[in-house]
Amino acid sequence: MSAEAGQQHPLGIYLKIWLLLFFLSALSYMVDYLEFQGYLRWTLIIIFMLLKAGFIVAIFMHVMWERMALVLTILGPPVALLFLIGFMAVEGDYTFGARVEYFGMDPNAEPLPVIHAESH
């Protein structure tokens, strides 16, 4: 695909990806609706999220058809974010432990029930 011609692709691929995104969104909503919990819930959320994000970036944003120089400029720097996530997860976990250990907070407290107003 030469850059001068622009990103011209058959309509069919957009329609297929569109449908697929609908399907994946429905699946990720079902994760909540069917009340999956724990590791099953988190795994499914992450899988559906990454699939959706991948299709949007690759097809709708045409990254799949770009030259390597541009692809790496786009996808390379965000890799650094994985380090930030890792560091802050360690930090957050430590703070949580300190609050339970030294401030006597209950680590298993449940949130108060949500009661919505009657009128809608």
Binding site: Y29, L84, R99, V100, F103, H116, A117
Partner: protein
């Protein structure tokens, strides 16, 4: 320009050898329109802004020892006095944004076919979906505010819930609003024929921004609403 360089630009190599060629030959690196390269640079930097918000959210949620309110109950909504359906409005908003991404992709396609009427119409449809998304978000905000959610407190649990909610969805909503205005302006210029000579890359560039807004919502939906 030497003979080999001319041959290379006429038929550029792909993949890793192409990467080396693009960076090494002391010439323009990105073989895309200038505006598109700049839009990508902006989107990469915007990625870092949203990532900082989401990582900050992760940190406060992990570190708070107070219970986190359950989004599935907080964002439940009942219609016509029926049983509340969990997270239903957020699901509808997600579908609306996916739909608008689809119409935007079609607009880009019609733009490159030089069908400016269809491209402009599809861009306006995209903008209309975006505006309805912002409308629903305004409804969501006013509902939560009326129930006592503030950036510093809420009736159910960890006070950080409110600050994260207002900051992350607010910043995203601001992007959607800006996108609606951007789409409307470009659609008008497309329909008027401003790009007949320049080419229709501008539709793709606008599309990149719009798809990015949808992309960010995918992450917000997964991490804030579903987690």
């Amino acid at each position: 320009m030497s003979h080999s360089a001319a041959a290379a630009s006429a038929n550029p190599r792909e993949g890793l050898p192409g990467l080396v060629d693009d960076w090494s030959s002391d010439k323009q690196t990105y073989h895309v329109p200038w505006g598109k390269a700049m839009m990508w640079i902006f989107l990469v930097s915007d990625t870092f802004i949203f990532s900082c918000f989401l990582v900050g959210y992760m940190t406060v949620r992990m570190s708070t020892a107070e219970p986190w309110p359950l989004p599935t109950d907080v964002f439940a909504l009942s219609f016509f006095g029926g049983e509340p359906i969990p997270l239903i409005l957020i699901a509808i908003m997600t579908f609306i944004l996916i739909t608008s991404s689809g119409t935007m992709a079609l607009a880009v396609n019609y733009g490159y076919r030089k069908d400016k009427r269809m491209a402009a119409i599809l861009m306006l449809v995209t903008a209309a979906f975006g505006a309805s998304f912002v409308g629903m978000q305004a409804f969501e905000w006013s509902k939560l505010i009326s129930e006592g959610v503030r950036p510093w407190e809420n009736p159910w649990g960890a006070p950080q819930f409110g600050s994260v909610f207002f900051m992350v969805t607010g910043f995203h909503g601001l992007h959607v609003t800006a996108g609606v205005i951007y789409l409307a302006i470009v659609a008008r210029k497309v329909a008027r024929g401003d790009y007949d000579k320049k080419g229709y890359e501008i539709v793709e560039i606008t599309g990149l921004y719009w798809h990015f807004v949808d992309l960010v919502w995918v992450f917000i939906f997964a991490f804030f609403y579903l987690w």
